[in-house]
């Protein structure tokens, strides 16, 4: 088999890898945003619950959680490994994203809330118009990190049989006895995906930066 076809076969897994990430990351963001707002603004009981959720979900290895969630999700609804895996990764990521957003929310100084209330804004209004816009800018850098992690962790669905990049590399290395080349190519593709994502988010960060004189 020529190198071209070789690369093409592995690269065709990219669609799966990207898709898994494009499901998991936004799902994690959606849940993470809700959870973090509950965590920071929800009152004693909710804060406690979210704190426990965070500790548990981040204390268990992602692969273990993936298996647990995968069997739970596919046990109750009839979903393919792809969907069950992606959703599970999203749920796992939500715990980490919750912490990132929480950190960003808390880093907006308390004075901002006070100033917002002082012009008559309600608590909700202040959170929506003053706190979140500032927290958003502070969250981009660590979130970029999390995005890279999700792309890399998407390789875990290899264990569920999803035909993404790593699984393809494994299959073709077995049939062509060229494992070294196969995994190098897989590595390069992942690297490019992570690199591009980081660059894009860096660009976003720069665009959204609030102008200030040194």
């Amino acid at each position: 088999m020529n190198v071209g076809r070789f690369i093409q076969y592995i690269a065709s897994g990219t669609a799966y890898t990207v898709s898994v990430s494009l499901i998991a990351l936004p799902l994690g963001l959606f849940l993470g945003l809700i959870f973090s707002l509950l965590y920071v603004y929800g009152g004693k009981i909710l804060t406690r619950i979210m704190s426990i959720y965070s500790t548990v979900m981040r204390g268990i290895p992602p692969i273990v959680l993936l298996f647990i969630l995968y069997f739970m999700v596919s046990g109750s609804i009839n979903l393919s490994a792809f969907w069950a895996g992606s959703i599970s990764l999203g749920i796992i990521s939500s715990a980490y994203q919750m912490e990132i957003i929480r950190g960003a929310l808390l880093s907006v100084s308390g004075g901002q809330m006070m100033a917002a209330r002082a012009v008559g804004m309600s608590r909700m209004g202040a959170i929506k118009h003053i706190i979140i816009p500032q927290a958003f800018r502070m969250a981009i850098c660590p979130w970029s990190n999390e995005a890279a992690i999700v792309i890399k962790d998407s390789s875990l669905v290899y264990a569920l049989g999803v035909p993404e990049i790593l699984r393809r590399a494994q299959l073709i290395s077995a049939s062509t006895q060229q494992p070294f080349l196969a995994f190098i190519i897989a590595g390069v593709i992942y690297f490019v995906l992570v690199f591009v994502t980081n660059r894009l988010l860096d660009g976003l960060d720069k665009r959204l930066r609030i102008p200030a004189n040194p």
Partner: protein, 226 residues
């Protein structure tokens, strides 16, 4: 969830064996990662340009690709290049190299936050560059880095679970075995999840203790002061 308890009871000896393997993997990974990471950090901070580029290349590659790919490359890929390593050694190597990339960045951050002024002060009393690094900068950097670095052993502990895919008999592998014997995957994996949680808690407590013991009042990295 009673089934989790039953499974824990039934497989405890085997799970404990797996736990030991996991701890071993983590320990070797951290130590190897530290040794290599330290060299990488020093190369980046103080080395000549070519060395810096090599260090950056290594760090970017290992942080920019999944551990699983690195693991498979070492275990499945190297034999075709003439280097055949056992499962355990492959796992140690992959975990160690991967961790090195992350530890290098932590250490480099600490070195940077100490800044040029300490180097200037050291040179001013006649120490050579290397002596200043060794006796003035590194002792401070290594203490400064502990809070941020504490994330790494825990991260490594969790990451180590994937090595079951090359048949290393860690805790995850035992969980998988329990699942295939009991036909209860959720219960089995929940059981080992509990054990992983216990390990993470214990390690966190240990690291917090370490942090407290090595703290110098008033001397913290910028990000820690928030």
């Amino acid at each position: 969830m009673g089934s989790v308890f039953v499974i824990l009871q039934r497989f405890l000896p085997e799970f404990l064996k797996g736990t030991l393997v996991t701890l071993e993997l983590t320990a070797v990974g951290i130590l190897l990662g530290f040794a290599i990471g330290l060299m990488l950090a020093l190369s980046r901070a103080y080395g000549p340009k070519w060395l810096r580029l090599i260090a950056i290349g290594f760090i970017e590659l290992f942080r920019g690709t999944p551990l699983l790919v690195q693991l498979f490359l070492i275990y499945y890929g190297l034999p075709s290049m003439g280097v055949t390593l056992s499962q355990s050694v492959s796992a140690y190597l992959a975990l160690g190299l991967n961790s090195a990339a992350y530890q290098a960045e932590y250490i480099r951050g600490a070195i940077q936050s100490i800044g040029e002024s300490q180097m200037t002060a050291g040179r001013a009393i006649g120490l050579s560059r290397w002596q200043t690094i060794r006796f003035i900068i590194m002792p401070q950097a290594l203490r400064l880095v502990i809070p941020a670095w504490s994330n790494e052993p825990i991260s490594l502990l969790k990451t180590s679970a994937v090595v079951f895919l090359i048949a290393v008999q860690d805790l995850m592998a035992r969980g998988k075995r329990a699942a295939s014997i009991t036909y209860n995957p959720i219960g089995s994996y929940l059981a080992i999840a509990v054990i992983y949680l216990v390990m993470v808690f214990a390690m966190s407590a240990l690291l917090k203790w370490l942090e407290r013991k090595t703290k110098i009042p008033g001397f913290e990295m910028e990000t820690e002061k928030a």
